[in-house]
Symmetry: C2
Subunit: 446 residues, 2 copies
């Protein structure tokens, strides 16, 4: 009320308890909690302050007479979102849902909030436009639903690594600044690399393939960059890709690895994020493995039965995928396998018996592609031939082709789009909410 | 001898055993091993082939009469580095160090080696120039020493994540394509971002600071990009940075976290990479925590005593750091603390009592900087003031400054250069060998 509270340093103060630990204290214990003010209710001489930390919330109750006047004075000027420390005495409260509250003895405000956030913190769906939220993303991320999403994302990442390490995969990092486009020239971000032109990597594809000759099974979780001009709810210009590659394996091995990985991830999230799933009403898909497998031919036939205008050899459009998902009642994970070789990248291995088909798959979630994988070509001449057919400049791939002279093993792998995966299993409507700071054709900040 | 062996598909063959598992088989068990040929000895009618997989090596012994003539014929044309599968019978061998060998029954060569590698696989230090090795990096990575280095690197990464997760840190990923330089304009790679100019992130600094207001403790392990014109053995243009940021903490908390993290990493490598440490004769540093701490002032005094031409307020040159490391016998980890505020980035918090000093530290390994950390400024006005002093365009940081209106907590953190850390503890001479595919001013491929 009386203006701005003096902002002070932490000095020797440190948090003694998280919000969730207060209920385990004894009556009158002195505690220090730290966090930010998620709500204030002012009843004249009685103030209720919710202090939120990364574990949960605790209630601070300041009543005239119960706590120093100086503290009451501070509280009268306190604003939501301010960061602070409260030193106080624990008062056990059987009735309250948290089981205890804190009577403040001393307050340190570290940083006052100057503005009210233009959106509500509790609602699952914000009625406010996405752009307003993204402009103030760090504040937006205090919202309960996003807290849940990014804690689930943490589990997703750690459970993938745990699973792959057990399967003998080595973690690698490959360069993001590259001399030549991996998959032809489309949708690349050019860089000035000292005095030369270079590009941002669209995928670690060729590097991870090379590494199978030295480490057999490798994985990388890192950024990929695609200069797509799309403005859809499922495209990002910068995304995190979960890439695996395994030696002495083909695409059926890769599919089995992928479905087991997804099973493990869902299981880990159920075990580790029960609170987030409940509080944010997120219902994870229940899957059984093996996941359903449909060949490209089966999908095409089904589309043709529905009088869709599709031709053998064409890619399947997003519209057609929607139709298929709804017609075949596919609202969870399934594979589409054995795509035409002509629409797959040069490194994808054609089927040795039916050359027009390739040993490839897409993992779908409903109508959304989550992952793409295949057996890869491991013979130089075959690879050069495919590159020539696709009109690529073979000389530019010399750095890659030459390692094929040293016994590269048969190999297969896949890449999973992390944000699409997270979006699918948590039911997010827009992929931008699966990224902390999304990038797209219109957005380069914050 | 008779030219090239026919290359075939895997078809239904799958590996039944790793090399290390052969010794646990019974005599005459039929096994399939897969890998690449690391050496061949030809004694006329007797051939010894070492087949290497990601676990180890196994010996295949082909003697005329013992195995089909067709297999002997294949073996006569076999080249080192080729990838293959050997189906054979186990022969237990008490005398041999591996305890068993394989008598081949059928051989599938997947991919013939066309060339001999221009370097030896066994030696710890290759006498061949680094550039020749890097040009054929995927083959170079088959060398024992690099196999060890990158398996240790895997443990390093997983043990850091394990440690930080236990400490309540959330894993995050922040954008690598950014609108504004974080630390002023030097050493940036520019990008064409659709129709705009953008840059590659030199560090996740401002993003990780913002995220303390929503998640308190966060970490990111990801690429950073620095267009440094250096040609030293300790600079890369693209490196992996281990970044942490914690709320309600200052630089002394950050130092304690970092030294415990390093202790945990070394401990994990000792536990998980015993074989690699032994076979590659890598001696990890023994450390005790707390690590030694020297203030900038102490270092300066010591340099002045040695008649070094240094001035208070200057950065400490690599030469001076070498002198100090040797003079004070600092050949392992130690901190240099409390640097002059004027030579630290704008977000580093000046000491509240001595404004010319900052709450900052560098973690050193001998003369090499491994990490840099500090308490950060968490008040907008103070931050703007510091930016102004350093001549930064404040408008360009609007996207960052505006979240400081919403109660950002006191926070501190550090970034560790992964390759420098790995190089230091394993005794590598050149940072390029701590990266799978290094990037520098001269190298953009493979």
């Amino acid at each position: 009320m009386n203006g701005i509270i003096e902002e002070v340093e932490m000095d020797q103060w440190r948090r003694t308890h998280f919000s969730s630990e207060i209920r385990s204290c004894s009556e009158n214990d002195t505690v220090i909690v730290m966090g930010w003010v998620s709500s204030i209710r002012d009843h004249g001489n009685l103030h209720f302050i919710q202090v939120k930390d990364r574990i949960g919330e605790t209630q601070v109750v300041a009543k005239k007479g119960d706590c120093p006047d100086s503290v009451l004075e501070q509280i009268q000027s306190l604003k939501e979102h301010s960061s602070l420390a409260v030193k106080g005495r624990v008062r056990l409260q059987q009735k309250s849902p948290t089981g205890a509250e804190i009577v403040p003895v001393e307050l340190k405000v570290f940083s006052n909030a100057r503005n009210a956030a233009p959106f509500m913190l509790q609602g699952k769906r914000s009625s406010i436009g996405l752009d307003i939220r993204l402009d103030l993303r760090a504040v937006d991320l205090r919202r309960n639903i996003l807290q849940s999403i990014f804690r689930i994302r943490h589990t997703l990442l750690s459970s993938i690594r745990e699973f792959l390490a057990k399967e003998g995969f080595l973690e690698v990092n490959t360069p993001k600044m590259i001399a030549t486009a991996t998959e032809g020239g489309a949708a690349l971000f050019p860089i000035f690399y000292y005095d030369r032109e270079a590009f941002l990597a669209q995928s670690p594809q060729l590097y991870k393939e090379q590494l199978t000759m030295s480490f057999e099974n490798v994985y990388e979780i890192g950024p990929i960059f695609r200069a797509e001009p799309s403005r859809t709810n499922r495209h990002l210009s910068e995304a995190i890709s979960i890439d695996t590659e395994m030696a002495f394996a083909d695409y059926s091995d890769a599919m089995q690895l992928l479905e087991r990985l997804i099973f493990h991830v869902l299981d880990s999230i159920r075990k580790n994020n029960n609170d987030e799933l409940n509080s944010s009403e997120i219902v994870l898909p229940n899957i059984k493995i093996p996941l359903p497998r449909y060949s490209y031919d089966q999908i095409l036939e089904s589309l043709m039965e529905s009088d869709e205008n599709v031709r053998y050899g064409d890619d399947i459009s997003p519209q057609a995928l929607k139709l298929i998902a709804s017609k075949l009642n596919l609202n969870s994970f399934y594979f589409i396998t054995d795509w035409p070789a002509s629409i797959k990248p040069f490194y994808v291995k054609p089927n040795s018996k039916f050359e027009a088909k390739s040993e490839s798959f897409d993992l779908m979630f409903g109508p959304l592609e989550i992952s793409s994988g295949s057996t890869r070509i491991n013979r130089k001449l075959e690879l050069v031939e495919r590159m020539r057919k696709q009109g690529l400049n073979i000389q530019k791939f010399d750095y890659h082709l030459k390692v094929f002279d040293y016994g590269i093993p048969p190999h297969a792998g896949f890449g999973v789009g992390l944000e699409r995966f997270l979006m699918s299993i948590t039911g997010l409507e827009n992929i931008r909410d699966a990224s902390l700071y999304p990038r797209d054709i219109d957005r380069l900040a914050p």
